[in-house]
């Protein structure tokens, strides 16, 4: 085989917070580490996180990691694994101090300690008063963390492959992972990266929905790579939506807009929340507002040429309130819609924000899948961390500020376990040519010439399909129809052709490879949502409105082969403390 090949102890795919924190551990321990990222590392999506990261430091109000654990278990609607949650909440404290020492400029109190702000879902004393647990570096926490970790990695001599696209994992006959086939975007040349361990840290996949807050790069590549390597995806039905994103674009219009007195309106000018939540109206819980908007649109009362959104009215508040209290919204509306929200209503629709599901791992970051001896056997050499993984600390719903924490804690845990792995298994396993062939074939498929559909057209249909059939309005009929349509769409991929077959910076080819990935993670999401016949956390079904612990307190697993579903138990036993048994969630 004439393909160029590079060898490392450890390969990390993804340079967001999760990948970089793992890489830093490894480089500091003198392992040879390669980090591959399809965009320049500091353009990873972690840069967008503004809110902050949770840790029970008790700098502002009394706090305890055990209270943080309680809030996280409750927030997860009891689907989170309590061993992993205990680990994360305990580790949060040293993790934040480690970042502080590494140079993250956290906002501070007058006494010099790290400032902590209050956020929804956080309590003192197991459900008591509001807690202040979120540490932030002004409104650019993700940016500060990402840049600090990147600088530290440069200093530790981590080897970066910037603007390289990972195509697929390499696997031997025993199922061990041996590295990945990657593509240098600039030259179009494939490269084999051989490694004793491979960590997937490729982030989320919000781009599978038409309306999303996620950047274009969030296409679920690592998740789809895992699926193609025979690993299932866990709890993919749980996707967090915000009720009000800018219609057709996706960015958030904060809840503050409704808090200030803004309200929603349909095409008839009706204030429709009166029908869905007569008391709370526009301030009803997120899922109620989201579903109300989707229902209005489904029943033909949507606005605009396509009738595909509703309107958020702020103009009655007066220019002064809008300008002073909601300046961010005014800027977004002017820039993306060419309107002034003090004069005209804003077109809005629920926007896909965060994936709770992903590649199943244990709390050491090792990928686990059902095999001969049980539901959680380690896949040799494969790790996952960050939004692409499901460890599972968020269960059915994530608390704000817990995902930056997740990526840091489990990125670090994976790094530590890899160091151990490398000590125990210091040699590379043999890499047979046959391990590279499937990945090469997937790449070569896009060289086919001739007439055919465009990537762009199929992608647009996919994103609309997912929004219509697996968004916030979920019933058996809606989702079953969605699965049929998605199976048909998946067939269309074979007929897609690229117009551009050049080698250098062929971004069309990258987009085609991303489309393959989106279709796979879309199917995982839709199938898992169809199967789960209950409402829990972010998965809410009109036809099964209640949580059903007797039948559904279990994780779902979707396998690509045969679109098969399986399930495994939730780990309800923490490491050292008592379990939190399921209770009705009231906030």
């Amino acid at each position: 085989m004439s393909l160029p090949k590079r060898r490392f102890d450890s390969l990390i795919i993804g340079a967001g917070g999760a990948g970089l924190n793992a890489a830093l551990r490894l480089s500091a321990a003198d392992a040879r580490v390669a980090v591959v990222s399809k965009v320049f590392p500091t353009r990873s999506h972690t840069v967008a996180a503004q809110g902050g990261v949770n840790a029970a430091l008790a700098n502002v109000l009394p706090d305890d990691w055990h209270w943080h654990m309680f809030d996280t278990v409750k927030g997860s609607d009891y689907l989170g694994d309590q061993d992993a949650i205990e680990y994360m909440c305990r580790e949060a404290i040293p993790t934040v101090y480690e970042l502080e020492h590494a140079g993250v400029p956290f906002s501070r109190l007058d006494n010099g300690r790290i400032y902590q702000r209050a956020f929804g879902g956080m309590s003192q004393n197991f459900g008591g008063d509001q807690a202040a647990r979120t540490c932030a570096a002004a409104d650019r926490t993700g940016h500060a963390i990402l840049h600090t970790l990147y600088q530290q990695n440069l200093r530790a001599r981590t080897h970066f492959f910037d603007e390289f696209f990972a195509i697929d994992l390499l696997r031997d006959e025993e199922g061990a992972i041996l590295g990945a086939l990657v593509l240098e975007i600039e030259t179009g040349a494939p490269l084999v990266i051989e490694a004793k361990t491979t960590l997937l840290a490729t982030g989320g996949y919000g781009q599978v929905f038409r309306t999303t807050t996620n950047a274009f790069i969030n296409t679920g590549d690592g998740m789809a790579m895992a699926l193609r390597a025979g690993v299932p995806l866990q709890d993919m039905e749980f996707f967090q939506f915000h009720p009000t994103g800018v219609a057709g674009k996706g960015m958030l219009i904060t809840e503050g807009a409704r808090g200030e007195g803004g309200y929603l309106m349909n095409v008839r000018g009706e204030r429709f929340m009166e029908r869905y939540a007569p008391k709370a109206l526009d301030l009803a819980s997120r899922d109620v507002v989201s579903r109300a908007i989707a229902t209005e649109v489904r029943e033909g009362r949507g606005c605009g040429e396509e009738g595909d959104h509703v309107l958020l009215k702020l103009d009655h508040l007066g220019r002064d309130v809008v300008g002073r209290r909601l300046p961010g919204i005014s800027e977004i509306c002017r820039t993306f819609l060419g309107i002034d929200p003090a004069e005209e209503p804003i077109p809005v629709f629920p926007t896909a924000h965060y994936a709770m599901g992903g590649i199943p791992t244990d709390r050491l970051g090792r990928v686990v899948a059902p095999a001969r001896h049980g539901p959680e056997e380690v896949v040799p050499g494969l790790y996952a961390a960050g939004e692409c993984a499901c460890v599972s600390v968020h269960g059915a719903n994530r608390l704000g500020g817990n995902s930056l924490l997740d990526i840091l804690v489990f990125g670090r845990a994976a790094g530590n376990d890899i160091i151990q792995f490398l000590k125990e298994k210091p040699n590379h396993r043999p890499l047979p040519d046959s391990a590279v062939e499937p990945a090469l074939a997937r790449l070569a498929r896009w060289d086919r010439k001739g007439e055919g559909e465009t990537v762009h057209a199929v992608k647009a249909d996919l994103r609309k399909l997912m929004e219509d059939h697996c968004g916030v309005f979920r019933t058996e009929a809606v989702m079953a129809e969605g699965v049929d349509k998605l199976k048909a769409l998946r067939e269309r991929i074979d007929g897609v052709r690229l117009r551009d077959h050049s080698q250098t910076f062929n971004t069309a080819r990258i987009e085609a490879l991303e489309l393959d990935n989106l279709v796979d993670v879309g199917m995982a999401t839709l199938m898992s949502a169809l199967y789960r016949q209950e409402s829990r956390g972010a998965h809410s079904r009109v036809d099964f409105p209640k949580r059903d612990d007797a039948n559904w307190m279990k994780h779902s697993l979707y396998f690509r082969e045969g679109d098969r579903m399986d399930f495994k138990p939730v780990r309800t036993k923490p490491l050292t403390v008592e379990s939190f048994p399921p209770k009705e969630r009231v906030y």
Binding site: T42, S44, L146, E331, F336, D500, T507
Partner: protein
């Protein structure tokens, strides 16, 4: 480098960590690339080399680029509507 290759290269540089920047840059390339002078193009490349947070501040008027040409380019990118 031919024009098509240059555009492809720029398109990848427009992939950012924030949706807002993705949308601003991609609509600008779609609407305006063919009319850019070579000076404009080198300004665009310069702009793309700035960090996402700085770009966000510039586009959403939390700050203003000191460089006059970049200031004009930021205003131009903001003003494309689709």
């Amino acid at each position: 480098m031919d024009a098509a290759e240059e555009l492809r290269r720029l398109r990848w540089q427009c992939r950012r960590g924030m949706l807002e920047l993705d949308l601003l840059f991609s609509r600008f390339l779609d609407a305006c690339y063919s009319g850019l002078s070579s000076e404009d193009k080198s300004d665009l490349l310069r702009l793309l080399n700035y960090q996402d947070q700085i770009l966000q501040d510039w586009f959403f008027r939390a700050a203003v680029p000191a460089d006059v040409r970049l200031r004009e380019l930021v205003a131009r990118i903001r003003s494309v509507h689709c």
